[in-house]
Every structure is written in C-alpha cells, then in structure tokens.
C-alpha cells in the first residue's frame, strides 16, 4: 500500500497506471463532476461534431452533484459526495477512450465493461468514503467554472479546484484488479467456516417466502449485476 498525491490533469499517464488496489490517493488540481445528463450531453454533442467546453484529456471525473451556495458572484460548495457509480458502467468506456479521462471517482465500483475499459486505457476508479460530505467539501478550494448549468445545478459539470481531496481508495486499478469483487470473493470463501460455527446448514431452505432470495453462493455475482440506482 502506498499513499500518493496526484495532480490532475495528469502530466504522465503512469502516475495512475502504476497505482494498485488498496493504494490511497489525495488529489490536487482540477476535478470535473459529471452525472447522468452530463454524460448524455457530452456524447450527443460529440456525435454532432461539437467540441465540449472543457478539456477532459488526462482529467479526473467525479460521479457527484455538489450542494452549492451562491454568495454574490462566487459559488461555495457546502457538501459534496459521490452518487452510486455502478449506473455509469455503460458510459465509462467512451469517456475513457474518446475523451481520455484517466481517473473516475465515485462509490460502489463499476461493472465489467467499464473495468475492461479502465484496463485498456490504463486508468483507475477511485472510491470516496461514503457519508463524508464534510471532509470532501473542505478539500474544494474553489469553483473554477460551471458548465451546462441549464441542466440543473446537480446535473451540471462543476469544474472544481481541489487540494488534497481524499482519502480516496484505489478500488479498481489499471491491471483490472477490482477490490470490491476481491473482497466479496473472500467473503464467500469465509462463509463456509462461519456457517459451521453458527450451525447454519448450507443446503437447508430456511426461508419460505419469498420463494427465492439471492443467497450466498451468488454473493459476488448478484453484487456484480446489481444496479442500486440513484441514492
């Protein structure tokens, strides 16, 4: 495990491609927030040949909609935390490959297509700690710009200057290693012994209703295919 301070936009790709799951990152420089509508608009504009108002080459993109307050001409970020990242699985490959984003920040991890794309492009997924909106708000120095504000403030792209934004955990690295998947696989292996201790018989059907509840052998699978939606 290493602790690294990395500045975005990246100067050298290997600053992220060498990170490994479990490493801890504090982020400096510029971060762009992007939620569902921002991905949609970015792609539909690109399809029509329009250049986006921000340069995402070597950038860090954060799945979040900050709570902001306007003080005369200045925006103040009062609370900022990740939304669930899993639903961005489908849009992430294009973001990495066409727009050359190098780090995606969020929570809960990404699905297989996105993990494969991180591996192909040498990029990483950085996990924020859930429920730490106060810490992360303190790490935002200022709002550099707000793009596409007409989509509503949470859905707009906020270009933020951050200082030591963290702690962020490298949860999926450029080698395709996935700390969520790894942890749940390990949980699955440990359950056998735990069930013996608890006198739980693995083949008994203890539950009568509903007829099926995603059970233990499928833990990792059901987590992988699970889309928790917006929270």
């Amino acid at each position: 495990m290493v602790i690294r301070h990395i500045s975005f936009p990246l100067e050298e790709d290997k600053e992220v491609s060498l990170l490994r799951v479990g490493d801890i990152v504090y982020l400096n420089g510029t971060v762009f927030t992007m939620r569902d509508s921002a991905h949609q608009l970015l792609f539909s504009n690109a399809d029509r040949g329009l250049t986006p108002p921000m340069n995402l080459k070597g950038a860090a993109v954060w799945h979040c909609g900050p709570v902001v307050r306007r003080d005369r001409d200045n925006w103040e970020v009062t609370s900022v935390g990740s939304t669930t990242s899993y639903r961005f699985t489908g849009v992430t490959p294009r973001l990495l490959e066409e727009f050359q984003v190098k780090a995606v920040i969020g929570k809960g991890g990404l699905g297989p297509e996105a993990i494969a794309a991180l591996q192909r492009t040498g990029s990483v997924f950085l996990a924020t700690v859930g429920g730490c909106a106060g810490v992360y708000a303190q790490n935002v120095r200022r709002v550099i710009a707000v793009h596409w504000a007409e989509m509503g403030l949470p859905e707009a792209v906020w270009e933020l200057e951050v200082e030591n934004l963290g702690a962020l955990i490298v949860a999926i690295d450029a080698s395709g290693d996935n700390l969520y998947g790894k942890t749940m696989e390990q949980v699955g292996r440990r359950l056998a012994d735990i069930y013996v201790d608890l006198n739980i018989h693995p083949d008994y059907r203890y539950v009568y209703w509903p007829p099926s509840l995603p059970g233990v052998p499928q833990v990792a699978d059901c987590f992988k295919n699970y889309n928790p939606g917006e929270e």
Partner: protein, 299 residues
C-alpha cells in the same frame, strides 16, 4: 410561548443535531472501530470518517449529503397536556432546517418525481406515534436515514418446520452479504422477529436506535443471537465500504414480537455508519432533557 412554538423549536434543534452530530454513544463505537482496525484501507477510511465527524460538528455541516426521508417519532406521556397539530409543526421544522442548514432536497412525489424543494409533502415528515402511560413528558426523536442503507432493508418469512435461530442467522447473513458495501458499512443492523411483516420491519428499524450500541436484549435467547451475529458478521471481512476490513457491523440489535405459529417474519434493517437520530424529552414543567446528544447544541 405557545406549546406549538416550543415543540417546533425542539424539533428544529433535533433535526440539526441529527444531521450534524451522531448520538454520543454511536460516535464512541466508531472511534473504537477506528482504533482497533488492522486493515490499512479500512483504517484510512475510518480515519476519514472520524475527521468528517469533527468537521461536521465544528462547522455545523451535514455529516452526509443524503438526509433520507425526514421522519419523527413522538412518544406522548399520558400526563403531558397536549392539543397540537404535529403534522404542521414538524413540516415547518423540516422546511426551516432544510433551507438553513441546508438539507438536500430529497423528497419527491413517488410517481411524478415532482420536487417541491422543501423536503416535505405527501405525508413527509413521516410521524411514528407512541404513548407512554404515566409519564409527564413528550419524547420527540428526529430520524434521518440515508437511502443507501434504508433501502437495503427487507422482510422475509421463515419456513415453520426449520430451526428458528439458524433461520434468523441465515436471513441476516443473506441480507448483509447481498448488500456488500452499498449500505456504507460499518453498519448498525436491526432485526425484527415475529408479528406480521409490517410489525417485524417496524421493530427492526426501531432496534437501530438502541443505546448504547451493542447493549444486549434482556431476553437471553435474543441476546445470544445478537452476540453470535455480531461476532460472525465481523468475521466476513466485508469491512468499511465493502473494501475489506475488520469491522463490518457496529452493532446488531434484535427485537421480537409474538408470532403466528405457522409464519415467522424476519426483518433486517440497515443503518449506514452515520446512524443519525436525536431524542429529547419535553416535560410538563417546561424542562427539556436532551437524551442522545450533549446538551442543546450538542457540545
């Protein structure tokens, strides 16, 4: 000062307490988890959590950006003179705190997603009513439950011929392993056993508020299950945010209810690590007792 205004002011203070500070004893178990954590990834996250609690307290900021669906529980003492409209009192309190603290504008119409922007409407703030015979106070609790954890909760029915205790353990394990890191562990787990499904779920959510966290149920059969589940869940290694670690649950609290002989519901409720609620008692004499937090402003 009218009774309505007094209750509204207490409700506002409780909402601010609940949003910005954890109950003292809940914060203590988080500090304990941070101290004894051996996994470096989990340790770094728990340190961030502790720092977040300090910042939220000092700067009066929301601990988490998700205030959930604001709710109150009132327990009305039979000796407390009362003739007030709780709906309008608590609605005014939520709207004021949502505007001033602020709380994220969470509450929408369930079908149209229409958002009044006030965190109220269509029965929100939701109110749970209770009655305390022989007491001369009104007990009010403000409840803020993050969506990531509240929506991982659920209820199932055990097969009547299967061993009961093992069935309960299996259900809790299924829910916790299914949820993985989504409910922002280390979580507090409430388990309701018996009654109808709605009673079991209600008991499970009520159990989340037990203080201090980890205090056992007075019924020895229930206490034994709590102990077994607490130890076993913390052996899974799900850890902080599902990224591995020694602490997966901060506490397991069970509640039970008389049950139909053929069907035994088991409900599991989650609270994310910020188990946010605040309670005060307002006595007939006018005295206010802050139950979960240190004093009026929690200092």
């Amino acid at each position: 000062m009218s009774l309505e205004i007094a209750i509204r002011e207490i409700a506002e203070k409780l909402l601010v307490q609940a949003a910005t500070q954890l109950p003292v004893e809940v914060e203590e178990v988080i500090h304990l988890a941070e101290e004894k954590e051996n996994d470096h990834t989990a340790k770094a996250q728990l340190q961030t959590i502790v720092r977040n609690l300090d910042i939220a307290k000092q700067k009066k900021l929301s601990i988490c950006q998700d205030p959930g669906i604001p709710a109150f529980e009132v327990n009305i003492g039979s000796e407390f003179p009362l003739n007030v409209d709780f709906d309008s009192i608590f609605t005014a309190a939520v709207q004021k705190v949502a505007r001033e603290l602020p709380l994220r504008q969470n509450v929408v119409h369930p079908l149209t997603k229409d958002n009044p922007g006030t965190n109220t409407g269509w029965g929100v703030p939701y109110i749970y009513y209770g009655y305390c015979y022989g007491r001369d106070y009104l007990e009010i609790t403000a409840l803020l439950r993050g969506g990531g954890s509240a929506f991982r909760s659920g209820v199932v029915t055990l097969a009547p011929t299967m061993p009961r205790a093992e069935g309960v353990k299996k259900v809790v394990f299924d829910f916790v392993t299914m949820a993985g890191g989504i409910p922002c562990p280390p979580t507090t787990i409430g388990v309701g056993v018996g009654g109808n499904p709605d009673m079991a779920l209600n008991l499970a959510f009520k159990a989340l508020k037990r203080l201090p966290p980890g205090r056992f149920h007075p019924d020895p059969a229930m206490a034994e299950l709590e102990k077994d589940l607490f130890n076993a869940l913390n052996k899974t290694g799900i850890g902080t945010m599902g990224l591995g670690g020694d602490t997966t649950v901060l506490a397991v609290h069970m509640e039970c209810c008389g049950s139909h002989t053929a069907s035994i519901p088991v409900a599991v409720a989650f609270s994310c690590w910020p188990n946010r609620f605040a309670t005060a008692r307002f006595y007939k004499s006018g005295k206010i007792e802050w139950i979960t937090h240190r004093g009026e402003n929690g200092d």
